[in-house]
């Protein structure tokens, strides 16, 4: 939808693209002004992340003598940026293309999309929340626009943003204490009560995560961030393979997601920096990948070595740039904010 012909003929799409270019410039200026280093890390990596449900796109490099090397396009620059933390960088950001297979080609998804990640070491989740809020507010001021629009709703950016724990929002929207639903059996009973039990084969072997998100996506997420953006933090620890456990309560982990107008915009961690624990969790994810019949590769030994060498307590975040542009421009589809997207090249 954002092809040269559409940009030539459709002033609305041209304006969206111009705003996109401006937003990425403003984003860079924001982080430079805070003293962040702008990093550039590889798109093609030998050992991508182990997220069980992400599917990296394979690429093959070939030398003149025909020796082949199997690589993958990264699904996130996370490992590379943490290696830079190990190298001694204390504030880094990168705006980069990321790639994920088996994704929708339109709506809110594109297999090739742009992400910004930034890390503070030393740093905390609170610090990262402030960065995200200040970034949006700074862009909004420069665009002279105090609100964004999504799903026919106006969401204030300039107002103070909300912060609530996952436990607080379960109480608010479902009137239950999440502490009582941290195991699969009680959660299954709750799902049945809400009319959200998984149908068919999945009924009797429902996984905790699937029940949790089925309830969350149907009953909670559509309400999040409709007046102003909201950070939801302290996720049940079983979801968080790259984050620290919450200090006051180890049943939860230091992770937050940012929602604006019901749309998931960013995912952040109080970064786990203990090498052995990280290695153990990544091996567990790898085993899950194998059990799902997905391709596997070793846990990146260089990443574990970087953690072993020592990284200060860090906070980090991944934020979808295309979705941020979509919110600021009121675009109707992610393909309206990406020039010559995969979808446009196919259709």
């Amino acid at each position: 939808m954002s092809t040269w012909l559409e940009l030539k003929n459709n002033p609305r799409l041209k304006k969206i693209y111009e705003t996109r270019l401006l937003i990425t410039r403003l984003t860079r200026e924001f982080f430079w002004s805070l003293g962040f280093s702008e990093a550039e890390t590889p798109l093609a990596v030998g050992y991508p992340g182990q997220e069980p449900y992400l599917n990296p796109v394979p690429v093959v490099f070939e030398e003149p003598n025909k020796t082949k090397h199997n690589f993958y396009l990264h699904t996130s620059p996370e490992f590379s940026l943490k290696k830079l933390l190990a190298a001694g960088f204390s504030k880094v950001f990168e705006i980069t293309k990321t790639f994920r297979n088996n994704e929708d080609l339109r709506g809110l998804h594109s297999p090739e999309f742009t992400m910004i990640e930034w890390y503070r070491a030393p740093g905390s989740l609170e610090g990262i929340m402030s960065d995200a809020e200040n970034l949006f507010k700074s862009i909004a001021r420069k665009l002279n626009q105090n609100f964004v629009e999504y799903n026919n709703k106006k969401i204030s950016i300039s107002r103070e943003w909300e912060k609530k724990t996952m436990r607080e929002i379960w109480q608010e929207y479902l009137q239950v204490n999440l502490d009582d639903y941290l195991e699969v059996e009680p959660l299954q009973e709750l799902a049945v009560k809400l009319g959200l039990a998984l149908g068919g084969e999945q009924k009797n072997k429902a996984k905790y995560e699937d029940l949790f998100f089925k309830i969350f996506l149907n009953k909670i997420e559509p309400h999040l961030g409709l007046e102003q953006p909201i950070f939801i933090y302290d996720y049940p620890s079983r979801f968080c393979s790259l984050s620290r456990l919450s200090r006051p309560d180890s049943r939860y982990a230091e992770r937050f997601e940012l929602y604006i107008g019901g749309l998931e915009i960013a995912n952040a961690f109080g970064e786990l920096t203990a090498a052995d624990e990280q290695n153990r969790r990544l091996e567990k994810d790898k085993a899950l990948r194998a059990s799902l019949g997905k391709p596997t590769w070793p846990v990146d030994p260089d990443f574990i070595a970087a953690l072993k060498s020592g990284i200060p307590e860090a906070g980090g975040i991944a934020l979808g740039v295309d979705r941020m542009v979509l919110l600021f421009t009121g675009a109707k589809d992610i393909n309206e904010v990406i020039f010559n997207s995969v979808y446009d090249q196919i259709n």
Binding site: M1, N9, L54, F213, N218, F239, E257, K332, D333
Partner: protein, 189 residues
């Protein structure tokens, strides 16, 4: 039994209280987790649109809908009349179910109509539709200098769209029916 992978625009899902036609669907993976299928579905009884999210792979009660190629004929009161291109039978579909797509219909346009128990329940129209321009105000010198690079034109089915100032009466233009916007002059594609 069907699963979420059978969900498409226009299929009809049976929920405990009513039948719903799928208006939109999208895969979502909350926090890099396992996949879900989010749908916006419209009640065939009340016309109300609701959002339901399924775990991907879950069984969904999809009822059999017969999709037929039809040609749009004319509007009659609140209804739209179509002709089945195979057997030339005519059907009428209620304007509420046709919804916003109704404004893109023009005589002879080929569409796909979903039929459930002899009743039309969904309509799919082409992504781009060609129209003839019937009214286009002439471009005025200085228009583009003022930043006014488009003008409103009227198409042969009564649809109004913004188009570049060089478009004249009698031109054939393509309109993107997903956004309702001018896309290109027909000859450019």
């Amino acid at each position: 039994m069907s699963t979420t992978s059978d969900i498409r625009k226009g299929v009809v899902i049976r929920q405990p209280n009513d039948l719903y036609v799928v208006v939109e669907f999208q895969h979502v993976s909350p926090g890099k987790g396992s996949g879900f299928t989010r749908t916006r579905i419209k009640s065939l009884g009340s016309g109300k649109v609701i959002e339901v999210t399924y775990k991907s792979g879950e069984t969904v009660d999809i009822v059999e809908v017969n999709f037929q190629n039809m040609q749009y004929l004319y509007k009659t009161g609140d209804n739209f009349a179509f002709m089945n291109m195979k057997n030339y039978e005519q059907i009428e579909m209620n304007g509420d179910l046709v919804g916003d797509e109704g404004k893109y219909l023009k005589e002879g346009l080929e569409v796909i109509i979903g039929i459930y128990e002899e009743r039309p329940v969904s309509i799919q129209i082409p992504k781009k539709v060609q129209y003839k321009v019937v009214t286009a105000p002439p471009a005025v010198r200085g228009d583009s200098a003022g930043g006014n690079v488009t003008k409103e034109i009227v198409l042969d089915n009564g649809l109004h769209v913004q188009a570049p100032i060089f478009i004249k009466e009698g031109d054939e233009v393509l309109v993107n029916t997903e956004t309702g916007e001018y896309s290109a002059r027909a000859s450019q594609e």
